[in-house]
């Protein structure tokens, strides 16, 4: 049976389409575009806005000329996406949206990210600073009598050290764990 596609829609999204019949379907589509929607005079020669393939079931808006010889992305036959997706573990699926071209496929993509490196430094500084502040504040605790002595800069810094050390350590640890979470969510299995 000869392939007859509805000329209003993209043949790739109609039943009976196969990549082998690409040339025929392309010709069909070109013919359909020329026949169904006449071009507006002002839009002649205008380049196509993007290479995004047309949505299924949606009629074409205008008869914008399509350059037939240029290999467009939309002309490439669709690969079965199900097999691709099932090969990737669940955790790695989450990174699909954030993938950028040029990123390495294996390992963690942010190994050389200066922002992440800065966050690691901040996390370590917070933990170490919290421990040092608390240790120093405990050390000078008995250096002076707590009764009847006025507030000095040392006692102010000491109480600040006590107040800040616990949140500093907590946030530092949470930051480090959060960075590990980020690594875990952007991890992809090596090919």
């Amino acid at each position: 049976m000869a392939e007859s596609f509805d000329p209003r829609f993209d043949p790739r999204f109609q039943p009976g389409y196969s990549p082998s019949s690409k040339s025929a379907s392309r010709a069909d589509r070109r013919t359909a575009e020329n026949e169904t929607v006449p071009e507006k005079p002002g839009e002649q020669g205008k380049p196509k806005e993007s290479g995004v393939p047309d949505e299924p079931g949606k009629p074409k808006k205008s008869g914008v000329p399509v350059e037939p010889e240029t290999p467009k992305k939309s002309d490439v036959p669709d690969e079965p996406e199900t097999s691709k997706k099932s090969d990737i573990p669940d955790e790695a699926d989450e990174s699909k949206e954030s993938d950028e071209p040029g990123e390495p496929d294996s390992g963690s993509p942010d190994e050389h990210d200066p922002f992440e490196r800065t966050l690691w430094v901040v996390a370590i500084a917070l933990v170490v600073g919290g421990v040092v502040a608390a240790y120093w504040a405990n050390g000078i605790n008995y250096a002076q009598s707590a009764i009847g002595t006025p507030w000095t800069w040392q006692s102010i810094v000491q109480s600040s050290g006590w107040a800040l050390s616990s949140p500093m350590i907590t946030i530092g640890l949470a930051l480090a764990v959060g960075l590990l979470f980020r690594r875990a969510m952007t991890w992809r299995p090596p090919k």
């Binding site: 199900t82 997706k85 099932s86 573990p89 669940d90 955790e91 790695a92 699926d93 989450e94 963690s108 919290g130 421990v131 608390a134 240790y135 405990n138 050390s165 616990s166 350590i169 907590t170 640890l173 949470a174 764990v177 590990l180 979470f181 690594r183 875990a184 969510m185 991890w187 299995p189 090596p190």
Partner: protein, 90 residues
Amino acid sequence: MRKRNPWIGLLWGIGIALVAGGYAANFWLQTFYYPPPGTPSPGPVVVFLQDLADNFVSPSLYVGFGTIAGLLFLHARSRKRTKKSVDSHG
């Protein structure tokens, strides 16, 4: 065989180690409370470790439980995605 995410395993280890370590440090600190009269000072190293444990007990318990909760959220999300993809393809 399906490859496991090594970072998830590492995070599970860290979460459990933080909770267990924080609890153990708190337990160890309690052995120094109310010493009998005449007990000598434990020495500067132990005093430093006491300070360290005293500072780490609460943060490590918070972050450890937070890590485990975050991992459970992550597993729930990936399970939901897997189920959704199976439903849409099957």
